[in-house]
């Protein structure tokens, strides 16, 4: 029998926000199951900057945003995210990834982040945080 996969908080990064309303994305169907189970769905305000471009693609993302929690990035989160990057050996710009992980770390556990950037998110995350790879 398959183990129960229950999570309290599910965080969508930019790639997941886009995939959630894609015609053939499995994530769309999983979100329905998550909603039925009472999982709370989150993203961050910084992620909105990453995905919204004022194009027609925004329409579905904006529709999705009305039904999930958008966590605002304040100074405390921003500082902690910077320190989080500093604790890794990652090269390149992972600023928003770090903000997403820091926000996730402050949500009720168990918490999972859905992303297509498994490597960087895993490097930035805490041991008790699930990083679910959208790209496989």
């Amino acid at each position: 029998m398959a183990a129960l996969r229950i999570i309290h908080s599910l965080v969508l990064d930019a790639s997941a926000l886009g995939a959630a309303s894609d015609k053939n994305s499995p994530l769309r169907f999983q979100l329905r199951k998550a909603a039925a189970r009472g999982t709370r769905i989150y993203t961050t305000s910084a992620t909105l900057t990453e995905v919204l471009r004022g194009s027609s693609r925004d329409v579905n993302i904006n529709r999705l945003l009305t039904s999930i929690n958008v966590q605002v990035i304040d100074g405390s989160v921003a500082r902690a995210a910077g320190l989080r990057v500093g604790r890794t050996s990652i090269r390149g710009n992972v600023t928003i990834d770090a903000l997403v992980v820091e926000v996730a770390s402050r949500l009720p556990k168990p918490v999972a982040i859905v992303t297509s950037d498994f490597k960087d998110l895993s490097a930035l995350s805490d041991p008790d945080m699930m990083i679910l790879d959208l790209s496989i």
Binding site: L27, R32, I41, R53, S56
Partner: protein, 114 residues
């Protein structure tokens, strides 16, 4: 000030109506606030009181109502997508379950190695 010649056309004529964006960003928890009286079973009230003091009972209930409203809105949004794209096939649902299981297994493998 005149826009530079290199400015993107979308800035002059947004493809997404502002009202859509405003609606999307509207915060259910923003004021003004209404005071309402509700009747709930005493046993439930006592149990909730263990988690929420009298002073933050309103915020406790507000959070639960807001989350439930968002949960319903998410299901409605997914219903709308199903109407647009057609309902998922049994194969798509099976694939979704398989992909989700694979994601969990990858997570469990990574934590087992760390």
């Amino acid at each position: 000030m005149t826009p530079s010649s290199g400015a993107k056309k979308s800035f002059e004529k947004p493809a997404v109506r502002p009202s859509v964006v405003e609606e999307a960003l509207a915060d259910l928890l923003a004021g003004p606030f209404d005071k309402v009286s509700i009747t709930i079973p005493a046993g439930l009230r006592a149990r909730v009181a263990e988690r929420a003091s009298q002073s933050n009972f309103s915020s406790y209930v507000t959070d639960i109502l807001a989350q439930e409203e968002k949960r319903i809105a998410l299901i409605e949004f997914l219903d709308q997508l199903d109407e647009e794209f057609g309902p998922p096939s049994a194969e798509q649902l099976a694939t979704a379950d398989l992909r989700w299981e694979e994601m969990w297994q990858r997570y469990e493998s990574s934590t087992a190695l760390s």
